[in-house]
Amino acid sequence: MPDALYAYAVAPAGSLPDRLQVTGILPGAEVLALEEAGLTALASPVPREAFEAGPGCRTEDADWLAARAAAHHGVVAALPGTVLPLAFGAVFSGEAPLRDWLRQRAPRLSSALAAVSGCTEWSVTLEEDAAQHGAWLRHADPALAQLAGKAEQASPGTAFLLARRLDKALAASRQARLQDTAQALGRLLQAEARHLAPSRPRNAAVAGWSALLAEAAQHRLRTALELEAIMLSGTGLSLTLSGPWPPYAFAREAASDA
């Protein structure tokens, strides 16, 4: 029995049809557009017990939760035009609290919507294959190449000490190159992005960003990153670009105290 509203995103009033033909957060849940204070909120009626601590809670079921996350993104990404996604898991206990929430934050939400207009979010990550990076540096860095050469020809005792020095120098060289590359990428992104936020690196990623980009900037940045990716190719570092995304990271920052 639906007794709560799961909210997906906020859009400018009048920008979306009343009922959207998209799959909601739960099977069979319709997606409604509620207008308030110059804004439209997209929401689906849901049973609150599924999202709340208690006997009917489903949030510890990983399969269920992953499917909900995919559905949440499915709705947000299917919305035409400018939208500001809400955090995953936004459940209101009814229409009145949702309308109150919108009304109280309308100015901040509206200006955030104006800021994302015409933009999409792109994720850029810099990843390292540590073994390959090290192997490449041993040849590419003259000081390391010299040390490695000496170690190969030295007597066992000296070779041991030289190997220790090489390891230390290699670690420092890796860090320095990672830092330089990340800084250069950050400058490149900063020059093109309407908004840039660092993102939490995952797995082999050493640095990541979420960039809010207008269309022209997307093309320029993609060309620049492709060039950068070619330069990095074979050196143990690689770039990944993913998008277009709804402005998830931007929404968090722009309206965090909305």
Partner: protein
């Protein structure tokens, strides 16, 4: 080629039969993003409460999210 440059922009939107990688990307994007509702806590406003859970609170950690991803594709009910 082991150092293949992973540079092809990926379409992040997963359809019903989305590849697993897309779902990982989606979960990664959804963690700690989107407009926050009042500090992600359950709030009561004059008797009508506003519930917000947030993916971070739901899954407790990224590790859980990763684990959850491996189990994800078979059920979308």
């Amino acid at each position: 080629m082991p150092d293949m440059v992973d540079f092809l922009p990926r379409q992040p939107l997963p359809g019903p039969a989305a590849p697993q990688q897309s779902l990982v990307d989606v979960l990664d994007k959804l963690l700690d993003t989107g407009v926050v509702l009042d500090g992600q806590i359950v709030i009561s406003l004059a008797g009508v409460d506003l519930i917000h859970i947030g993916l971070r609170a739901l899954v407790a950690s990224v590790d859980t999210a990763q684990r959850l991803v491996t189990a994800a594709p078979r059920s979308r009910a």
